[in-house]
C-alpha cells in the first residue's frame, strides 16, 4: 500500500520548498516538488530604469547574492551593445569566483553535511583517533588531539544544557548514517571552522563592492569601485594585497579541509553514486571570461548542453531553444497552458488553484507549484555544478579533467558515478576547487593592469538613456553557484518593457510539464530508498545535493500600474 508523505518545510535551503512523495516497498514511487512562496519582482521591474534593474534583481536572493546583479547587468549590456573595460571583467570574475567558492563551502558544511554527519555520534568519538584520521587525510594544521577534545567538550557542554536549538528534533541515530564517530567529530569541528571562515573570505565582496550580502558596486557598463594605485579611496596596492591574502585563505581551506572531507565522507556513502540520477540532461551557459572580447568562446567554464548522459557529444547551447511551461504551475498563459513560451515572450498571470491554507496535501494532479517548468528543446535539464563540471570535462577543460580524474580515482569509481546524488555533491567540490585555484590569476591580471596605468572601470558611452535605441532586447547569462542563470530584458523608450529570469532552481525544482515529464528534483527522487517514512533523511540528501534556492526561482511579470510614476513625479 503506497503512502503519501509531505516534507514541508524542506530546511537548510534558501526559500520555501515542499516535497510530497509516494512511498511503496521502502522506495519512492512518485514525487512532487512545490515552491510555496511568490513575490512578483518582475512585475515590479516593469517601467523602471534598466540601469536600476540589478539592484532589484539582486534581491531575488540573498544567499546567491551578486548573481542576479551579474545576469541582469549583462542582459542590459547585451541589449545596448556595451563593451566593458578589462578591469571590470576582472573585478566581476573575482566577485563571482569568491561567491561560488564561499557559497559551496557553506552548502557543504552548513546545509548538506548534517544529512551525512551525525552530530550526536561525535560525542562518543575518541579525540586521539580523530586526530589520527584528520592527519591521515590532510596537512591542515588544526588537527591535534587537544583541538578535537576541545571541540568535543564544547559540543558536550552545549548538549548538556538540554537545549539543542537548531540541532533539536533532527534524525540523529538514523540507520542511514554511516560515518564512524571520529569522522563525525572531525566534520563537526570543520562545520564550526567553516562558519568562521566564510565570514572572513567574503570580505572580498566588501572590499570590491561595499558589503555582503548584496554588494553595491555593479553598474551597467562596468563597476563602481574605483581603481587607482595613487589613491587611498580606491582599489590600490594595499587592498589588492588584502584580497590576495583572503584568496589564499579561501584556497587553502578548500584544498586542505573541504576536498579531503568531501572525499572521506563520500567513501562511506558510495551507494549514493547509484541513487538520485535524475533527468540525465545537463545545461551550462559557461562563465568567467578569460579575455575581454565580450564573446563566449573563451570562458573558463565552457558553454554547452549534454543530452542523455552522453559525454561524447557536447551540443551547442542556443538560448532560443528555451521555453517555460505553466501546465502544472500556478499561472495561466493567454494562449493556453499546454504550450511553452520563450522568455522574451513570457507572461505570467497568477492562477492559484491549490488548497486554501492550512492544508495537508496539495492537489498534485493539477497545478501545484509557484515555479514554472523550463525546458530546452522540450526536455527537462539539470543545471548546477554537476552540469558545469560535466560540460567542462566533456569539452576538454584541462583543469576539470585533472580534478574529476583525481576524485574518481580516489573513490575508485567511474564517470557514470557522477550522474547521482553523490556525483552532484562531489561536482560541487570540484567546481569550488577549480575556482579557488583560478581566482588568484584574475587578481594578478588586475594588479598588472593597474601597474600599467590602466585604471578604467566603467564605460559611460551609453550611460545616458538618450544614446539608447528606441527598442532593444538582451540576454544576460551567468553560471551562478547553483547553475545556469538567464535574464532576458526588453527595453522600450528608456524603460524596462519586459523582464524575465529563468534561474537555476527554476530548472531543477520545476514541476511536471505539459507532456508529463518530471523536473530534475522529482525525477531524482524516484527509486530512492526510504528506511523510515517518519524520518525521510534520504529525501533531504538528494534534494540538498541540488542546493535548492527557491526565492530566486519564482517570478512573475505583466503590467503594472502608474503609481510609481505618480510618486516620482514630485
Amino acid at each position: 500500500m503506497a503512502k503519501k508523505i509531505a516534507v514541508d518545510p524542506i530546511t537548510r535551503i534558501e526559500g520555501h520548498l515542499r516535497i510530497e512523495a509516494q512511498i511503496e516497498g521502502g522506495r519512492i514511487q512518485n514525487a512532487w516538488s512545490s515552491s510555496t512562496a511568490f513575490r512578483g519582482i518582475e512585475t515590479i521591474l516593469k517601467g523602471r530604469d534598466p540601469r536600476d534593474a540589478h539592484h532589484f534583481t539582486q534581491r531575488f536572493c540573498g544567499v546567491c547574492t551578486t548573481v542576479h546583479s551579474m545576469a541582469s547587468i549583462r542582459a542590459v549590456e547585451d541589449a545596448l551593445k556595451i563593451k566593458i573595460p578589462d578591469n571590470a571583467r576582472l573585478i566581476r570574475n573575482l566577485i563571482m569566483g569568491i561567491q561560488n567558492v564561499q557559497d559551496h563551502v557553506i552548502h557543504f558544511y552548513h546545509l548538506h553535511a548534517l544529512d551525512w554527519v551525525d552530530i550526536v555520534s561525535a560525542l562518543s568519538a575518541d579525540p586521539k583517533k580523530t586526530a589520527q584520521l584528520a592527519q591521515s587525510i590532510s596537512d591542515w594544521p588544526m588537527s591535534s588531539v587537544k583541538y578535537f577534545k576541545g571541540i568535543q567538550d564544547r559540543v558536550k557542554a552545549f548538549v548538556g544544557t538540554g537545549r539543542l536549538g537548531p540541532f533539536a528534533n533532527a534524525y540523529w541515530g538514523h540507520s542511514a548514517y554511516k560515518l564512524p564517530a571520529e569522522a563525525n567529530l572531525m566534520a563537526v569541528a570543520h562545520y564550526l571552522e567553516a562558519l568562521e571562515w566564510q565570514k572572513d573570505v567574503i570580505k572580498i565582496h566588501a572590499i570590491l563592492g561595499s558589503k555582503n550580502p548584496h554588494p553595491q558596486t555593479f553598474l551597467v557598463g562596468g563597476m563602481a569601485i574605483p581603481v587607482d594605485p595613487d589613491s587611498q579611496n580606491a582599489l590600490n596596492a594595499d587592498k589588492i594585497a588584502l584580497i590576495g591574502k583572503l584568496l589564499k585563505k579561501a584556497r587553502r581551506f578548500v584544498e586542505q579541509v573541504y576536498i579531503p572531507d568531501l572525499l572521506a565522507v563520500a567513501s562511506f556513502y558510495k551507494d549514493w553514486a547509484g541513487i538520485g540520477g535524475g533527468v540525465g540532461n545537463y545545461l551550462s551557459y559557461g562563465d568567467f571570461p578569460m579575455d575581454n572580447s565580450g564573446g563566449t568562446d573563451n570562458l573558463y567554464f565552457q558553454r554547452g548542453v549534454i543530452m542523455g548522459k552522453d559525454l561524447a557529444n557536447v551540443l551547442e547551447m542556443d538560448e532560443k531553444k528555451i521555453t517555460e511551461s505553466v501546465t502544472n504551475s500556478w499561472y495561466s498563459y493567454s494562449g493556453g497552458d499546454d504550450k511553452g513560451k520563450h522568455p522574451y515572450d513570457g507572461e505570467t498571470t497568477p492562477n492559484y488553484t491549490g488548497p486554501k491554507p492550512p492544508y495537508e496535501f496539495l492537489d498534485t494532479d493539477g497545478k501545484y507549484s509557484w515555479v514554472k517548468s523550463p525546458r530546452y528543446m522540450d526536455q527537462p535539464m539539470e543545471v548546477g555544478p554537476l552540469a558545469r563540471v560535466l560540460v567542462a570535462y566533456a569539452s576538454g577543460n584541462e583543469d576539470a579533467k585533472a580534478i574529476v580524474g583525481h576524485v574518481l580515482k580516489t573513490l575508485g569509481v567511474g564517470p557514470a558515478a557522477l550522474f547521482s546524488t553523490l556525483g552532484r555533491t562531489a561536482a560541487r567540490g570540484i567546481d569550488c576547487l577549480m575556482l579557488a585555484q583560478k581566482n588568484e590569476l584574475w587578481l594578478n591580471q588586475l594588479a598588472d593592469n593597474m601597474g600599467r596605468g590602466i585604471l578604467e572601470v566603467h564605460n559611460a558611452e551609453k550611460w545616458d538613456p538618450s544614446t539608447w535605441p528606441k527598442e532593444a532586447q538582451g540576454f544576460g547569462y551567468h553560471e551562478a553557484p547553483r547553475g545556469a542563470l538567464g535574464h532576458w530584458v526588453r527595453i522600450e523608450n528608456g524603460a524596462i518593457a519586459n523582464f524575465q529570469a529563468v534561474v537555476p532552481s527554476t530548472w531543477n525544482a520545476g514541476p511536471r510539464d505539459a507532456a508529463g515529464q518530471m523536473g530534475p528534483y522529482e525525477s531524482a527522487l524516484i527509486g530512492t530508498p526510504i528506511a523510515n517514512e517518519e524520518q525521510p533523511l534520504e529525501i533531504l540528501r538528494t534534494i540538498h545535493s541540488f542546493d535548492p534556492c527557491l526565492a530566486c526561482a519564482v517570478h512573475l511579470f505583466d503590467g503594472r500600474g502608474n503609481e510609481i510614476i505618480k510618486v516620482r513625479a514630485l
Binding site: V7, D8, I44, F167, N169
Partner: protein
C-alpha cells in the same frame, strides 16, 4: 596606559564569569572585547559592562524563533557574517535558536514540532525574529510554510512572543515585495500583527552588528532599545548617513565625482551627483560599516540607495538620479522631526550651504536641477 585600561575593564566583569567563558572556549580577551564593543555600540556607560556580562552568562539563553516569509534569506546571511559576537557564539552560547529554516537540522513536521514546543514552553518569553514581508492577498496563498499561511504563522508566533524583531526592510516596511504595484499585497510585520511589540531593523540586508546590539540590549535590560516613530532603534537609525559620511568634507567643499571612474571618483569625492541618497537616509552605515567594519557603499564608490527607508524602492529610485532639492534641514534634525514626508516622496534636503556648494561645481547631469534655497 593601555594596560591600565585593560585592568579597569577586566575588573568590571566578575572573575568567575570570565573563567566560565574560558572553559566554553571563549578567551577572556574575546569576551572582554565583546562586552566592550556592545557597550560602545549601545552608547552605554562603561560601567554597564558587568551587567552585559551577567546578562549573557549561564544558560538563560533566550529562545529565538526566526521566521522567514517573503524574503531572500539575505538577512540570515548577514546574521552569519556577525562578528561581535560571531554567528557560532550566537548559535551555541548566547541564544537558543529553536527555529530557523536555513540552519536547522530538522525538517518537515519535526521542524514544526520544535517551533511548537518553544511556543508552548516559553509562551510570552521567547524572541521572534522575522525576515521577509507577509503577503495578504487572496487569503495568504503567496507564502505558505508547512501548509499554513505566513499571515497565520506570524500572528501566532509574534503574538505570543516577548518581543519581535523585524530584520531587514521587507519585514520592517514591506520592502521589495511591497514595491509598486505590490502584486501580492505584501505588508510589514507590524502591520500584520498590530498588537505585537515590534522593533524594526531595516536595511537591505540589515547590518548584523545592529541585530547583535539589539539582542544584547534585550538580554541586558529585558526590553528593546528606544525607537523612533518608524520603530527603528535610535542607536542605529538616529542620524542621516550624510551627517556622518566620510566624504562630507568634499560635499561641503563642492568636490563631486561627476562620472564613475573619473579623477574625483578615484579620489573619494562626494557621490551626490551620481545619485547618492545619503542625505535622506537614516542609518549608521558610515560608522559601523559592514563585514566587520570593512566597508560600506559610499566607501566603495557607489552612492547610498536609501535601503533602510520605508518604500525606498519607489521613493529613492531611479537610483542614479540625483536627489531633487526641497527646503532643507540641519544636522540636528532626526527622522521623527522630518516625519513621513520623505516616505511620501516629498524628498530631500540639504542645508543652504550644501546647496550653494553643489551649485558651485556646475550641473550638467540629466534634467533635475539643484534649487537654491533662500
Amino acid at each position: 596606559m593601555a594596560k591600565e585600561e585593560k585592568q579597569t575593564q577586566e575588573g568590571m566583569i566578575p572573575e568567575d564569569i570570565l573563567q566560565r567563558w574560558e572553559t566554553r572556549g571563549v578567551s577572556r580577551r574575546d569576551f572582554m572585547k565583546f562586552c566592550s564593543v556592545m557597550t560602545a555600540t549601545l552608547a552605554l556607560p562603561v560601567t554597564m559592562m558587568s551587567k552585559i556580562a551577567e546578562a549573557v552568562e549561564g544558560d538563560n539563553r533566550p529562545p529565538v524563533l526566526w521566521m522567514e516569509f517573503q524574503g531572500c534569506t539575505g538577512d540570515s546571511e548577514a546574521f552569519l557574517r556577525a562578528n561581535q559576537p560571531t554567528a557560532t557564539e550566537l548559535i551555541l552560547d548566547y541564544l537558543s535558536i529553536d527555529y530557523h529554516e536555513t540552519i536547522m537540522a530538522a525538517a518537515g513536521h519535526q521542524a514544526e514540532a520544535a517551533k511548537r514546543q518553544t511556543m508552548e514552553k516559553y509562551k510570552g518569553k521567547y524572541i521572534a525574529i522575522v525576515e521577509g514581508a507577509i503577503p495578504t492577498a487572496e487569503g495568504g496563498i503567496y507564502c505558505t510554510v508547512g501548509g499554513d499561511s505566513a499571515l497565520n504563522i506570524a500572528r501566532e508566533v509574534c503574538g505570543n512572543a516577548a518581543a519581535t524583531i523585524a530584520v531587514g526592510s521587507c519585514a520592517s516596511f514591506g520592502g521589495i515585495p511591497a514595491a509598486a504595484p505590490n502584486p501580492t499585497g505584501a505588508i510589514s510585520v507590524s502591520e500584520a500583527v498590530p498588537g505585537a511589540t515590534v522593533m524594526n531593523l531595516p536595511g537591505c540586508p540589515l547590518n548584523a552588528t545592529n541585530l547583535t546590539a539589539a539582542i544584547v540590549h534585550f538580554l541586558t535590560f529585558g526590553r528593546l532599545p528606544a525607537t523612533d516613530s518608524l520603530g527603528r532603534p535610535k542607536f542605529a537609525y538616529g542620524k542621516r548617513i550624510h551627517d556622518n559620511c566620510e566624504r562630507r568634507a568634499h560635499f561641503d567643499a563642492g568636490q563631486y565625482a561627476e562620472a564613475f571612474g573619473d579623477a574625483g571618483h578615484r579620489q573619494g569625492w562626494c557621490l551626490y551627483k551620481l545619485g547618492c541618497k545619503g542625505p535622506e537616509t537614516f542609518h549608521n552605515c558610515p560608522t559601523v560599516r559592514y563585514n566587520e567594519g570593512t566597508s560600506w557603499p559610499v566607501q566603495s564608490g557607489h552612492g547610498c540607495i536609501g535601503c533602510s527607508e520605508p518604500q525606498f524602492w519607489d521613493t529613492m529610485s531611479p537610483f542614479y538620479k540625483r536627489l531633487p532639492n526641497v527646503p532643507g534641514f540641519g544636522v540636528e534634525a532626526t527622522a521623527d522631526k522630518i516625519g513621513l514626508g520623505i516616505a511620501a516622496a516629498t524628498a530631500v534636503a540639504f542645508g543652504a550651504h550644501g546647496v550653494a556648494s553643489a551649485l558651485r561645481k556646475g550641473d550638467d547631469m540629466e534634467s533635475d536641477q539643484v534649487i537654491k534655497e533662500d
